[in-house]
Symmetry: C2
Subunit: 409 residues, 2 copies
């Protein structure tokens, strides 16, 4: 018998029929004797409906009032799910964020949880009740309703699990776990039984959108075992946990890729101190985020300065660089939108040498040219031409033996 | 400069466009220097939408969870109206019932307000803010969300006006005031400048559905001047106030009628003590409400016992009476669905004799037969055949000089 926090997202509770399905899933866990706290999002489409109403009235609605409006979405779901649980003969009770004292700071629309008073929940659990809590929301110290921003319901679930020292926090979503890579690219991709917080963070930041970065950080900080499962199929999902607790100690956990980047180079910049700042300063001031950065030494005391940005920011960044290049006396600005970033992620890298060279060799064997390289302790990223994406991912997936043997031909 | 509580119903806030209209109306009052507290209902249609969702999950949803669900309706409106006020450059802030401590008992779906802590509202008003409060809802002593039942938003407005000792509580609706009678029946019907709480209570209980009885009782108890006005047109509406404060001291304020009644008679009941109880007991136990009751002495120590019920209960009541008649040895049960109750209402009756006889004479002159009579201190009701409704109302309206002279030909 364990204390489990479960979170069901908008798609999982998108219709009353699906809410009834979730109730049945919860009932099954309950029948195994577990104590359950269920966190839910707004029904899919509801947040958009409310935003449309707000925008009909104001192009820039005040964040405080937007929170009052949007928080009704999850409130509807908690009531409906609780009704569905009661209908199955289970004892259950619903709470808004404010009602269970999910205290946040006062930054409306992207508040951060500061404190949770879990006594009410403990009492209900002790009385054999299933507790249903509205995700994504809380209240500041003055009782104003706040919302937590993108992925907020995941954060609520992890924060509740931390406060209650739950045995596990289960995130139900529309995929059945974390894979070695995108199964649409590599059909042999294998679902990971477990992965470390750090690896999950790298994968999330690289575009694998199973979990929001913030909730993984939170889980890591408070050592909450996190499990990603499918709302629609049975299965064990993927457990995200600390390195010590992780069962699989694979060299490489997965291959992530990001197709949303573009690369820009300022060619022939005088090689002087402060150049990087003079180039990236104006870019940052235009609110353009820079990802990978590389500076090569060139001829005649000049250097080539290359970095990647989100593809949506490409044109704006290029305009800025043309100005900067003139001021710096650089030769020219070149760019490439048809690139992709491809990353190997694995905590095993820390203790194993030779992974980078295997990666580069594998790509070379397929005649894939590497345009940029960047590494961290548990990640190696390369930028290659977009057209080589599938080829590169498949070659690496096979080179590092990540396949699910059952799926191989 | 006054402190005014205004309430806008579901039709008045039925679309974002109408919410913007309400904001403009509020802005106009604000520009006259008044302190304003605005109470709103759910957008029309919203409560039905939520009820449909609940019923898809449960035929008998738990009242506590229904309150969690339905209370989101007003919460959406307070956010949108506040956004609209801010958009007009006014300072405004929204609150749910729980947030301004509208404390109720714990009878979910028909809770009664027990206490209001109005400090937060006072602070906001002192800071020049318009306060927007969700009607229809509150919270019990444990913080559970409750709703007040039918007409609950009117009750919220009156309760807030009482707690704040407001100068006036204005109920905005889709009619522009209280009329001497239904203008669809008598085109010359006149809007009353003022009417007493007691008269309003009689008219409301007689089917004039401008205000919910409960909110009028509340206003009367706490001497809150209540004004009914149109959301869509300008005008002074009708002031509902105490007899002392009332400007018009008319003999008769209005003529109400009720087409929803049916009449049943048990003929030839032995005239013994306890007969009324033996007839009405089984009717009451079947949850059928009885309105007018008359007992006539007949021949041979028998009596005829007649009463009216809602037309929807007519068949059920008749079945019950057939049983009862057998047990009592009564002659037969007769009934009539084609009747209507017609009532004169006016505090002036207290001090003027002869009103009843003028009423009966007027009806007699039109050859309208009176089937039942019942009186209270400020009301005389008669039951007549349904086909004479319009004729009767017009004749009485004219006999008591209730016409708007401007509208007369």
């Amino acid at each position: 018998m364990a204390l489990i926090v479960q979170k069901y997202g908008g798609t999982s509770v998108g219709t009353t029929e699906r809410i009834q399905q979730v109730a049945k899933k919860v009932a099954k866990w309950r029948s195994q004797g577990h104590d359950l706290v269920i966190v839910v999002s707004a029904m899919s489409g509801e947040t958009n409906r409310l935003m449309t109403l707000a925008n009909e009235i104001s192009h820039r609605p005040l964040a405080r009032e937007l929170d009052v409006l949007l928080s009704t979405g999850e409130q509807v779901t908690i009531a409906l799910l609780t009704m569905a649980l009661l209908e199955l003969g289970l004892d259950a009770k619903s709470y808004t964020g404010a009602q269970v004292h999910i205290r946040t700071d006062d930054v409306h629309c992207k508040a951060r949880i500061t404190e949770i008073d879990h006594r009410k929940i403990r009492d209900d659990l002790a009385n054999g009740r299933i507790v249903v809590v509205a995700g994504f929301q809380g209240a500041d110290e003055h009782g104003n309703i706040t919302t937590l921003g993108r992925g907020g319901s995941d954060t609520t679930a992890v924060a509740l699990a931390a406060a209650l020292t739950a045995d596990e926090c289960q995130i139900y979503t529309d995929v059945d776990g974390v894979y070695t890579t995108d199964p649409r690219v590599v059909p042999e991709a294998r679902r990971l039984k477990s992965v470390t917080y750090e690896e999950m963070l790298e994968m999330a930041s690289l575009g694998a959108k199973v979990l929001q970065i913030r909730s993984v950080e939170f889980a890591s900080k408070y050592s909450v075992p996190l499990r990603v499962l499918s709302s629609f199929e049975d299965g064990e999902g993927t457990l995200i946990t600390s390195e010590e607790e992780s069962m699989e100690q694979a060299l490489i956990s997965g291959i992530a890729f990001n197709k949303d980047e573009a690369k820009l180079t300022v060619v022939g910049v005088p090689d002087q101190p402060g150049v990087a700042h003079r180039i990236l300063g104006p870019v940052g001031r235009a609110n353009i985020e820079v990802d990978m950065i590389i500076q090569n030494v060139g001829d005649n005391n000049t250097t080539d300065f290359t970095f990647t940005v989100h593809r949506n920011d490409y044109e704006k960044a290029e305009e800025i660089l043309q100005e900067v290049a003139k001021e710096l006396g650089a030769k020219q600005v070149t760019g490439d939108e048809k690139i992709v970033k491809l990353s190997l992620v694995g905590v095993g890298m820390r203790s194993h040498a030779g992974i980078a060279s295997t990666m580069f060799e594998t790509l070379a064997n397929e005649a894939i040219n590497i345009k940029m390289i960047s590494t961290s302790e548990i990640k190696i990223s390369v930028v290659i031409e977009e057209k080589y994406l599938e080829l590169g991912v498949r070659a690496l997936h096979s080179a590092f033996n990540l396949e699910d043997s059952k799926k191989q031909q």
